[in-house]
């Protein structure tokens, strides 16, 4: 499936804005991303496995509230940097 990478995280992905990875949950996908791009996951997920305060993850058009959200092979994952001040 395709994961869309926001600009603040593209230093990890070699400037790629779209990455193909596999997984059956959002947590799986983020682990797979971190395996390919070490360090990326901790910038968006805390040590308690919660999505960080100013990060949003959408599966297609629906917001995933936690890492357990289930995925289908044709889903698109959007990592969004939410508003966080000036």
């Amino acid at each position: 499936m395709t994961v869309y990478i926001p600009s603040p995280l593209r230093s990890y992905t070699g400037r790629k804005s779209e990455v193909e990875v596999e997984g059956s949950t959002v947590g799986d996908v983020l682990r797979a991303l971190d395996h390919r791009f070490p360090g990326l996951r901790f910038r968006i997920v805390t040590e308690q496995d919660t999505i960080r305060e100013h990060i949003r993850i959408f599966v297609n058009e629906d917001q995933a509230r936690d890492l357990s959200a289930a995925l289908r092979p044709d889903d698109e994952i959007h990592i969004i940097c939410a508003l966080s001040g000036g």
Binding site: P6, P8, L9, P38, G39, F42, R43, I44, V45, T46, E47, Q48, D49, T50, R52, H54, I55, C81, A82, S84, G85
Partner: protein, 405 residues
């Protein structure tokens, strides 16, 4: 288990003769200021006479850089504590004085707690301290909320110091999330006794000053004599708000602190928690007061220290009293203070200087430097005798560290 909430732990005080170097010769040559700001990091480099300064292009532009620190053991390795508004906290490392940077493999992070429990989350790494000179590659980091972390590999991987982070009284010591600064509760002022790598001090806003003599396994509060007049208890054991704690490297039993409730000195007569802080800020002019964030020590004279007072009246504006900035210096360990404002604006200058944003070099006379939240960097080549604005228009300055090149 870690130590009790108070008590006077068995102490093994190193002799002052033990492992304390003789007073170093004054440094010569160029100086670099390592500047952390709310929008990135900068170097400001001087010529050999410290007369002209050149600002580098920003590093980590857009990152919140709370602290940028050089390893004095190799004088090449730098660590930067950084995050962005969106992205979580991390540490970057350079082994070539900032030419290239690499992110830590495992940044400071609290232990994962079992499902259903609420675990601690590092919001940002606030403070970095290189380890003891005999412990190459050891570093310490203090975080918001209050957490202590140690690296044994020069900042590539970080371990939680369980003796503090998992201490059963940590929550009581530090209070809740509201018991901190507006930017979050913080651990700062991680100090290492130059005679003993196992002897650590930490400062916490809030929480107070604590010490460990076994490298962080057991901790004791060290706050006797220090006011905490924002608490309902008259003389609490902990819960204080040290803003900046300093230890003199040539006289390690002497500590100073700029506290939320004044300026203090401690000369460790007992070597345990019975030692008391003395409010040397009582000797400041009453119309100025003794409130501020930062404090800097002379590198060769334990009796000389500088502070940057700010207004702590009524609603605590935390700006230069009366809009007239001044540094105050003591040359007798706080028994008297002298105003140093030559070169500063005479009025309408409402400066705030944060706790990590004031530093001294090792020259003679000592060079002093501080950064303001308005993005100005001021310096003095004469130990505060005259001040010059070295650079303007930086982002809000969080930290300044002076290093010899």
């Amino acid at each position: 288990m870690p130590s009790s909430r108070a008590g006077s732990p068995v102490t093994r005080r190193p002799s002052e003769k033990q492992a304390v170097a003789a007073s170093p010769k004054p440094a010569r040559g160029p100086v670099a200021l390592l500047i952390g700001t709310r929008k990135g990091a900068f170097f400001l480099r001087s010529d050999g006479a410290r007369r002209t300064w050149k600002l580098t292009e920003p590093m980590f532009l857009g990152h919140i850089v709370h602290h940028l620190v050089l390893d004095p053991r190799d004088r090449r390795t730098l660590l930067a504590a950084a995050r962005t508004g969106h992205l979580g906290p991390t540490v970057f490392r350079s082994t070539d004085f900032g030419k290239t940077w690499k992110e830590a493999q495992t940044p400071p992070a609290f232990p994962k707690v079992p499902e259903g429990q609420k675990g601690l989350v590092v919001d940002h790494v606030f403070w970095l301290t290189p380890g003891h000179h005999k412990e190459q590659n050891v570093w310490y980091a203090g975080t918001s909320p209050q957490g202590l972390f140690r690296s044994k590999d020069g900042g590539q991987t970080w371990d939680s110091v369980k003796g503090f982070n998992e201490h059963p009284l940590r929550r009581q010591w530090t209070g809740g999330d509201q018991d901190g600064t507006p930017d979050g509760p913080k651990m700062h002022s991680i100090l290492i006794d130059p005679r003993d790598p196992n002897h650590l001090y930490i400062g916490m806003s809030s929480g107070g000053v604590f010490e460990s003599r076994d490298k962080g396994n057991r901790w004791s509060p060290l706050n006797k004599g220090c006011a905490a007049d924002f608490l309902p208890v008259a003389d609490p054991e902990y819960g204080h708000d040290p803003h900046c704690v300093r230890l003199h490297p040539l006289k390690p039993d002497r500590l100073y602190q700029q506290n939320h409730c004044g300026i203090y000195r401690m000369d460790r007569a007992h070597g345990n928690s019975n030692d008391r802080w003395v409010r040397i800020g009582e000797n400041m002019p009453k119309q100025i007061g003794d409130i501020g964030f930062s404090m800097v020590l002379h590198p060769r004279d334990p009796d000389t220290a500088w502070v940057f007072p700010m207004d702590g009246t009524e609603v605590w504006p935390r700006v230069s009293p009366g809009g007239k900035p001044a540094v105050y210096v003591t040359k007798n360990a706080g028994n008297s203070w002298t105003r140093q404002d030559k070169g500063f604006p005479k009025a309408q200058a409402w400066w705030t200087v944060k706790r990590q944003a004031m530093s001294a070099d090792a020259h003679e006379p000592v060079g002093l430097y501080f950064g303001t939240t308005g993005g100005e960097l001021w310096g003095s080549r004469t130990g505060g005798g005259g001040w010059t604005c070295l650079v303007r228009n930086l982002p809000e300055i969080y930290s300044v560290e002076a290093v010899e090149l």
